[in-house]
């Protein structure tokens, strides 16, 4: 199972507490994880990626295993530890509040 940590606002929208776990078919990539996430929680469509272009929203970042994956290609494999469910994929909103 793939573990995903959502920011608080998106957990509220998806009506979930804590981590989300997903069963992802095939290779574990940003795209496949986000496709599965949005299929499971369609209320999140458009909140992480643009509805049409599927590009990451400007103030949203992806991290895992202490690496910034925000600028990786959507179809690049995620770290093995994420694929094995050892580490979560972190969806993070840009810092606000000063």
């Amino acid at each position: 199972m793939i573990r995903v940590v959502l920011p608080a606002h998106l957990r509220t929208l998806a009506r979930v507490d804590g981590e989300v776990t997903l069963h992802v078919e095939g290779q574990v990539t940003q795209r496949s994880v986000l496709d599965t996430l949005e299929a499971t929680y369609p209320m999140l469509r458009g909140t992480i990626r643009d509805h049409v272009t599927q590009q990451r929203r400007a103030f949203v970042r992806f991290f895992a295993c202490e690496e910034d994956l925000s600028h990786e290609l959507p179809d690049a494999p995620l770290p093995d530890a994420v694929a094995r469910g050892v580490e979560p994929l972190l969806v993070v909103g840009a810092m606000a509040g000063g």
Binding site: R45, G46, R57
Partner: protein
């Protein structure tokens, strides 16, 4: 006994304020959608328990929320609570947050740019819903005014949205420019006597009218005079802040422009200034008394760079003559050291007798008057900055 429900959108959530017809004691609930910007929420005239809310965030984009029980519970219309979130084929259900400009050959012209602040072409980019206007007759039909300026409509209770692209496809579309707050379609007025007629206003393109339910549009800015644009009497380019009408006289419109308070007696074909003796004719909201079509309200603001009341005195101005002759309404409002603003969607009236008038400030106060503006009382004083105020009068 009748009741009143005031719907307040703020920078950090929505609040619902309820009272009986006396409008003296208020029950305050919220924040709903805590932490999100709520640009607007409004109830359906055809079903007062049906409410729509625009929830947005610079991080996570646009969300549409709907309540079917008078703001007790909310859901995204594409994914009602308790229902499967996917179709039997596994596809996500509902597109209620999806606002995509129509560029199809059939209904949308392939417009790709408007003007940016510096006059260069800029692609249309959806940012948020500024205003939701439910149909006067059908709870499942609702219009959305969005930034970058366009008009969308849902006929399935907010599940899906489709652009009325004839507006953006008007010949002037490529020349529209944003105002300081963005290029927003912020006002939608539905003509109660003619379902084919809709008025809208855009900052900073101006006002437009359709007489064929949104297929074609015409600018209705004749008589506007704006010194801040290259051609002060141009057909488009005026920074209209708000338009209001009384439902008994849909051909008579009142406008608060960037500067100037204006009036039209011919459904927007021509306008004339009615600023009269106002201390400043800059401002944002304008509204009409529920029972007196010639009684209108504005909140003068000092200037386009000094967005606070003149002299630090928060004053609503009322004209009982449809403009030109204005009286200051100050009883109960702060008359010293007050430097809040009142935004364009942050004033509303109820339909009780006497008419109630309400407005919210960027300082988080929501003021109510149960006597047509003669006196005011703050319902709440310390909300987040108020973006919008709507009122429902309930049986």
């Amino acid at each position: 006994m009748s009741k009143v429900r005031v719907l307040v959108g703020t920078r950090k959530g929505a609040f619902v304020l309820k009272s009986d017809a006396k409008r003296e004691r208020w029950d305050v609930s919220g924040p709903h959608f805590a932490g999100w910007e709520i640009y607007h929420l409004k109830g359906s005239p055809a079903d007062p328990n049906r409410l729509y809310a625009s929830q947005s965030s610079g991080w996570f984009g646009q969300i549409i929320q709907r309540s079917d029980d008078g703001a007790k519970t909310w859901h995204q219309p594409g994914t009602p609570p308790g229902e499967p979130t996917t179709t039997p084929e596994g596809m996500p259900k509902g597109e209620s947050n999806k606002f995509v400009y129509d560029t199809s050959p059939q209904t949308g012209k392939p417009l790709t740019t408007h003007q940016w602040y510096d006059g260069t072409p800029h692609p249309w980019e959806f940012k948020r819903v500024w205003h939701l206007e439910p149909s006067l007759t059908d709870p499942d039909t609702v219009y959305a005014g969005v930034e970058d300026a366009a008009l969308f409509r849902s006929t399935d209770g907010g599940r899906t949205w489709h652009e009325l692209a004839g507006l953006r496809g008007h010949d002037s579309g490529p020349s529209w420019q944003p105002g300081a707050g963005g290029m927003c379609l912020h006002t939608i007025l539905l003509d109660p006597s003619n379902p084919e007629r809709i008025f809208i206003a855009i900052s900073a393109a101006g006002a437009f009218r359709t007489d064929d339910a949104g297929r074609t549009w015409q600018p209705i800015n004749g008589g506007l005079h704006s010194l801040y644009i290259p051609n002060p009497t141009a057909e488009v380019g005026h920074c209209v802040h708000r338009i209001a009408m009384h439902r008994s006289r849909p051909g008579v419109l009142f406008m608060q422009k960037h500067w100037d308070v204006m009036r039209s007696d011919d459904a927007g074909k021509s306008w004339h200034e009615v600023s009269g003796n106002l201390p400043s004719d800059f401002g944002f909201p304008i509204d009409v008394h529920a029972h007196e079509p010639e009684t209108i309200y504005v909140v003068p603001i000092k200037s386009d760079s000094e967005h606070y009341p003149p002299d630090g005195k928060l004053r609503v101005y009322r004209s009982r003559t449809g403009g030109n002759e204005w009286e200051a309404l100050t009883k109960g409002l702060p008359q010293r050291d007050c430097y809040v603003n009142v935004l364009r969607d942050a004033m509303a009236v109820d339909s009780l007798d006497p008419c109630g008038v309400y407005f919210g400030t960027t300082g988080g106060q929501v003021y109510a008057s149960a006597d047509s503006g003669d006196s005011w009382t703050p319902i709440v004083r310390d909300l987040p900055s108020v973006v919008s105020v709507e009122v429902q009068t309930l049986p």
